[in-house]
């Protein structure tokens, strides 16, 4: 009896893993290396040592959260691995990873930057440029999510034709 292949487990694991790893890109690149913003830098500008260290502590909680997402994604990936109905498809996993990273940027950008105003991508930029960077972050996330999801769908369609 043929088992119908299911791409959901691999794509779902990729989404959670990609969101965790994408969060690390955000934290390592934008918070630590470039120092464009911190987690609460719009509400609590890091203009004194105490405030800078408090922001650093909140960045730590953020990193703890994305670490947990990464571990959760690995657990889902492990549970999907070896199942007879889940194809060993690198493209599906890659698509899920990109979609997860993009979704994370979209949701984090919408909630933290636009709705709550906890921080902005380029905190010290002039107001117009600050809004442009926030918009660019959302567009980059949307593009990643679209490319990733399309990759997973194309792979599913290819498997259906085979």
């Amino acid at each position: 009896m043929d088992v119908q292949p299911r791409f959901g487990p691999l794509a779902g694991a990729g989404i959670v893993l990609g969101a965790g790893l994408g969060g690390f890109v955000n934290g390592i690149l934008l918070h630590q290396i470039l120092q464009w913003h911190n987690m609460l830098s719009a509400r609590m500008p890091p203009d004194t040592l105490v405030r800078a260290k408090a922001n650093m502590m909140w960045d730590g909680y953020f990193h703890a959260g994305v670490w947990t997402m990464t571990v959760g994604g690995l657990a889902l990936l492990w549970s999907a691995t070896g199942r007879a109905d889940v194809p060993h498809s690198g493209r599906t996993l890659l698509g899920g990873l990109l979609a997860g990273w993009g979704l994370f940027n979209l949701v984090e950008g919408a909630i933290d930057h636009q709705i709550l105003g906890l921080h902005h991508v380029a905190e010290s930029a002039p107001p117009g440029a600050k809004a442009a960077w926030d918009l660019g972050f959302l567009l980059f996330g949307a593009a990643l999510a679209l490319v990733g999801w399309s990759l997973a769908l194309v792979e599913r369609a290819r498997a259906a034709r085979a």
Binding site: G8, I15, L49, M57, G65, M69
Partner: protein, 70 residues
């Protein structure tokens, strides 16, 4: 030469610890105030949303090879 290196090392060791012992209580008071849990909830919201989407896709039967329920 060795003496100069030793002197530099000694000077570095003798510097005050950079952990800011005096400001540590202020930092903790700034973070762990009455808004700590609500703020933690706000920071967790994007992660929870994406985790929910990923789990939904993982469990979804709609993502079979032909797009129909498996």
């Amino acid at each position: 030469m060795e003496r100069s290196v030793a002197a530099v090392l000694l000077a570095l060791v003798a510097l005050p610890a950079p952990a800011c012992e005096t400001c540590r209580p202020l930092v903790r008071a700034t973070v762990y105030d009455g808004r700590f849990l609500p703020t933690l909830g706000l920071l967790s919201a994007p992660l929870l949303v994406v985790a929910a989407i990923g789990t939904f896709v993982y469990r979804s039967d709609r993502f079979g090879s032909d797009g129909r329920s498996a």
